[in-house]
């Protein structure tokens, strides 16, 4: 399977990465090289094999559904590129 230029643009859009016109061809070649390499998995028979999602040999731990943190708005906002009072500021979304 080979990606065309339109698909490369669509992936970039989904990934929220701006791609300039002159970058598309290079990316297309590189992404196709990687996808071409992973094609070999097609030859492995995985009938009846469960997917393995993680390296941990255990069930995920759960904790009580309670508030156990908070009151650190200043720390959370300390690295914000833009802020107003105790809020992150972003460009206007609704006209």
């Amino acid at each position: 399977m080979s990606l065309d230029a339109a698909t490369v643009r669509r992936i970039a859009k989904l990934a929220r990465i701006r791609v300039e016109d002159e970058e598309v061809q290079t990316l297309q070649g590189e992404l196709n090289a990687i996808l071409g390499y992973v094609e070999q998995l097609g030859e492995v028979n995985v009938d009846g094999v469960e997917p393995l999602s993680g390296g941990a040999q255990m069930a995920l731990r759960q904790r009580e559904d309670v508030v156990n943190d908070g009151g650190i708005a200043g720390k959370i906002l300390a690295n914000a590129p833009d802020r107003e009072l105790n809020f992150f500021a972003v460009p206007k979304v609704v006209e």
Binding site: V46, G54, A56, I76, N79, A80
Partner: protein
């Protein structure tokens, strides 16, 4: 003998005997960093004043009689560990202004043990790479040179700054992280020991995430004993990481002198790949004979799905990365590039903030998780991953540890292997399988190439059996008697 000849264990003894103070040791290392880092670029951020303040506290603690073996020991911290009040970049421009308001669990535990932080070590951007050339803060120079040549070599990656710092003796030890080989391959390229513990052994809390089902922290140091000392302090259960293992941490140092007598060591047929460098194969044969001579039983084994490891890895890791890196959107932290609207701001921020390799991996990950392709790529890779785990489980029914080469070559030149991403990915062919299975694996320096560059052997163990990995690694180290040093180093 110079102060830079001391290992962590050696320095701890000198400190305990009050023959040297932590302030003296750290002052010497601060000076070495200042002298050599402009050339090597092993650190992105240096913290000499913080180091000196920590050294003073360490001396007080040693005087009070409650020191640990790491008290006063100057370390490099991979710049992927969040450090409270000290800029943490993941070697990405998108995190250039980021100053964490909290401390990662691993760095906090090292701090609690009294270790001193010299600075934040360079790496491949978001730990994605095998050469440190994808760093947004410039490449790292390997302190080793080919005999009689002056070409700059890469230190490996992604923990390349950590590796170069320890090899050049501008750190006594360093933290690394390993997702597909990022501790073991740079350790091999720079003549160091380095261990990727079992997935879950060290907390991932506060480590900037790349591929969460694979990422694991570990130590890199001059020898196996120093790695054991560091891992003793780094490992342990942490409620802040839901995949952290709720298990007691043994004293890894106690395993160093167990020997290998009676141990069954597996040699996987599938690691003898066509076209593997004959020097690497010869070193592997030497390793086998060393272990046999020390009383181990050598057993031929099969890990049938080895050849699919890289293909699985280059689906699973980008998929997880595309999800993890969605957080860099210019809103809550990091750099922002303004746009005409919110979406434009996201797209411009991420286009400017991420380097080429990171963008490639996010896009591959986005594609393999997208509607219509999820089953064909991501689900399929997860199933083959399970077969790879099964390979190891079946092998470990017959053997106690597995011996392989760490990397398919010695360190290569800056600018080599750059033709296409897949060529670079092949560096991880021997290290990726253990990452996918979650088992512990260590690289130990075992010899020099004909060109005079270090080569490593890899020891893989059962889940949570780092002790056997340490025992076998110590046996290899003892037999190899690796004493070579790089040309560029603090003296």
């Amino acid at each position: 003998m110079s102060i830079f000849d001391l290992t962590i264990a050696g320095a701890a003894k000198e400190l305990a005997a009050r023959k040297v103070s932590a302030v003296e040791l750290v002052t010497a290392y601060n000076g070495a960093v200042e002298a050599l880092n402009p050339r090597l670029n092993a650190y992105i951020t240096v913290t000499p004043e913080l180091a000196l303040a920590q050294a003073k506290q360490a001396d007080a603690r040693i005087a009070a009689g409650n020191a640990t073996p790491l008290t006063g020991i100057p370390l490099a911290m991979k710049d992927l560990f969040c450090t409270e009040g000290v800029r943490t970049t993941a070697a990405s421009k998108i995190l250039e202004p980021f100053v964490p308001q909290y401390e990662s669990t691993v760095s906090a535990q090292l701090k609690a043990a009294g270790a001193v932080m010299l600075g934040k070590a360079n790496l491949d951007e978001f730990a994605m790479g095998s050469s440190n050339i994808t760093s947004g803060y410039g490449p790292v120079e390997n302190p080793w040179k080919r005999a009689g040549a002056d070409a700059k070599l890469v230190p490996g990656g992604s923990s390349g700054g950590s590796a170069a710092a320890v090899a050049a003796r501008i750190a006594l030890g360093a933290t690394g992280t390993d997702t597909g080989g990022s501790i073991r391959q740079p350790a091999a390229f720079t003549g160091l020991a380095g261990i990727k513990p079992t997935y879950g052994r060290c907390s991932r809390y506060g480590i900037i995430a790349f591929a969460s089902s694979l990422d694991q922290a570990g130590p890199m140091a001059r020898n196996v004993e120093d790695c054991a000392l560091m891992l003793n302090a780094m490992a342990g259960f942490d409620v802040k990481d839901s995949t952290s293992a709720e298990r007691a941490v043994p004293d890894f140092c106690a395993a160093l002198n167990r020997g290998v007598k009676g141990l069954r060591i597996g040699i996987p047929a599938e690691y003898r790949m066509d076209g593997t460098n004959p020097e690497i194969v010869a070193l592997w044969e030497k390793g086998i004979s060393w272990l046999r001579a020390q009383g181990a039983e050598i057993v031929d084994i099969s890990l049938p799905h080895t050849k699919y490891g890289l293909a699985v890895y280059y689906i699973v890791a980008p998929a997880e990365a595309s999800s993890n890196l969605a957080r860099y959107d210019g809103v809550r932290f990091g750099a922002r590039v303004d746009g005409v609207d919110l979406i434009d701001m996201y797209e411009r921020t991420r286009a400017a903030g991420f380097g080429a390799e990171v963008k490639r991996r996010i896009m591959i990950g986005t594609y393999v998780l997208s509607h219509g392709y999820y089953d064909a790529y991501y689900l399929k890779a997860q199933k083959v991953r399970n077969l790879m785990l099964r390979d190891f489980t079946q092998a470990f029914a017959k053997v106690d540890a597995i011996l392989t080469p760490t990397a398919p070559s010695a360190a290569f030149g800056l600018g080599e292997k750059m033709d296409d991403p897949v060529t670079m990915y092949l560096n991880d062919v021997f290290t990726v399988p253990a990452s996918l299975a979650g088992v512990p694996a260590m690289s130990v320096p075992a010899g020099l190439s004909a060109e005079g560059l270090p080569l490593g052997l890899q020891i893989i163990g059962r889940h949570f059996d780092e002790e056997t990995v340490f025992a076998v690694s110590a046996a290899i180290e003892k037999a190899a008697g690796f004493t070579a040093l790089p040309e560029v180093r603090a003296k």
